[in-house]
């Protein structure tokens, strides 16, 4: 800090505190809401301090049986679907991007530039602008209601490919030279030199892509027509879809907490890599 100014320091902390309170309040209230009974949550104003029904609520939704749920898929199954989807998307994106970047940087082959720009153009074709025809392709492949359908179409990644390409370009040529002198095959060099060097970039991408995968909504909305393939973000949407007064807010809020907990943990625990991945790669 440049100067000592007590008044300014006070304002600084005050503004930040207000910011933090506003940002955290909806999450806090969801947490509070998940610990009350349906009756307590149906009156206005609702309680703003924790109740005693938390255990019951979480057990009810995780098992999918108990008061307030009718033939509902257990949230534990939805979380499983979300987890598998998020992990497949994150690892899928990282793997195929590493391979593509390796090919583009370390080989000369015809149409190399075309391939590069082909990958670039995918940035301009987000799923939102090609919804119906993409669905048709999946349906023709018979991939509706499968993990393959939920993940494979989403694992192409221009971002990750360019990030790794950029990183590989900074790897000293001497390393590849030495590997070639030792008679190492390209794939050996890839596994033994490039992969270990790329660990930080991989961690950064993992955070961003895990969150991206876990939070997918529009795609599963098309892809999962059977309840058993619902990810948790679809589940919570369905729990709050009824008339305002009929929503079981205590259960909906417990589901919301479970839906945001895994990505929030990933962001907080891997904060260092996350910020690096988000901000540094942009520069």
């Amino acid at each position: 800090m440049i100067e000592r100014n007590r008044w300014l320091n006070l304002v600084t902390h005050l503004v930040l505190c207000i910011g933090v309170v506003v940002i955290v309040f909806p999450i806090y209230l969801a947490l509070v809401g998940s610990t009350h009974s349906a009756q307590e949550m149906a009156q206005s104003p609702i309680p703003i301090w924790f109740g005693n029904e938390g255990f019951t609520n979480f057990k009810t939704i995780l098992m999918g049986e108990g008061e307030g749920v009718r033939n509902q898929l257990p949230v534990s199954r939805m979380m499983w679907v979300s987890l598998v989807t998020a992990l497949c998307i994150a690892f899928g994106k990282i793997s195929i991007s590493l391979l593509s970047a390796f090919a583009i940087v370390y080989f000369q082959f015809p149409f190399r530039k075309t391939v590069f720009w082909g990958i670039f153009i995918t940035l301009m074709l987000p799923v939102e602008v090609r919804i119906a025809p993409t669905y048709k392709v999946i349906a023709d492949f018979g991939m509706v209601n499968s993990f393959a359908g939920l993940t494979i179409p989403l694992i192409a990644s221009a971002t990750a490919t360019f990030l790794f390409r950029q990183f590989f370009l900074t790897v000293p040529d001497e390393l590849a030279e030495a590997a070639k002198m030792d008679g190492a095959k390209p794939m050996r060099f890839f596994w033994d030199v490039l992969i270990p060097l790329s660990k930080t970039s991989m961690a950064a991408l993992f955070v961003i892509q895990f969150i991206y995968g876990w939070n997918q909504y529009l795609w599963p909305l098309l892809m999962s027509t059977e309840e058993r393939m619902y990810p948790i973000v679809m589940g919570i949407r369905n729990m709050t879809a009824g008339a305002d007064s009929q929503v079981q807010w205590n259960l909906a809020m417990a589901t919301a907490i479970l839906a945001l907990l895994p990505p929030a943990l990933v962001v907080v625990l891997m904060q260092k890599w996350f910020i690096k991945g988000l901000v540094d790669t942009e520069k």
Binding site: M1, I2, E3, L8, N9, T12, H13, V15, L16, G19, V20, I23, I27, L29, P45, I48, S95, I96, L99, A103, Y106, F107, G118, L123, M124, L125, P126, E128, R130, I131, A132, P133, T134, I138, I152, P153, A156, S157, F162, A176, E177, Y212, N215, Y217, L222, R237, T240, S245, V247, W249, A252, A256, L260, P263, A264, V268, Q271, L278, V279, T281
Partner: protein, 309 residues
Amino acid sequence: MGPDEIHVSLGLIILNGDKKVIFKSKWLPWVLIAPQAVIILAFFFWPAAQALIQSFQQSDVFGTSVEWNGIENFVSLWRDETYLASFKTTAIFSILVAGLGISLSLILAFFADRITKGAWFYRTLLILPYAVAPVVAGVLWLFLFSPSVGLAAYMLEKVGIQWNSLLNSNHAMTLIVIASVWKQISYNFLFFLAGFQSIPKSLIEAAAIDGASVWKRFWTIQLPLLTPTTFFLLVVNTVYAFFDTFGIVDSTTRGGPGKDTAILVYKVYFDGFKAMDLGGSAAQSVILMAIVICLTVIQFKYVERKVNY
């Protein structure tokens, strides 16, 4: 893959370069490229081409007959008042989301930059919404503003405002703007904070010695130096408001009341999957594609300028 990814990549492709040391193989690079290439061809290029073709076709509900009808689909979109209204809604929504999101996070980042102690604490809490899915963000705010039990709705009633986002379109718009801004603040905040921290401390110190107040230093030094970051965030936030807010709209207002919060992406989905108007939906997709391409080009040019800067 979403348009939210655009930001990361454009900075990376500028630095073009070739390795001097390369491996030689006729087939290996193709094998390495294959997984990505197959996915891109099957799930990106083919469907995008289909959307382009369908936008010039008319098919009946059962899909049994398909005929070409030129730019008919686009003409009827142009004549469709609900589509034009959706454009207007999207424009208002994007301006509000980008404007509010950028200014609020700029303020937070300005103060967070001044802090030496406890910065980690504030930062950790401020980046939480980034992890929250748009749908979940929508549900959290829906709960706060629920007309029957919502705490915010209850407080508003105390000051004489009958809040009901199901009936009042201004209320509905306010709700989706708040939820969208809330979710995006983390992202903007991190970029602004990085921007503030990259400004040399010596510059600020020199100005302070010359007697420039905190306020003056912000306007004359920090803000001008943050122009590239701000412009970049403007594009990213517009893309976000256009495309990534589908979940927020679908979980809060579902385009209602009436069609008053039906942004373009919501309408494409609704017309294609609920109303089964494939030609019309495809034409809308093509228009959206054009918008993404424009935004990408704007950003691309801007990044080049930043590199020369």
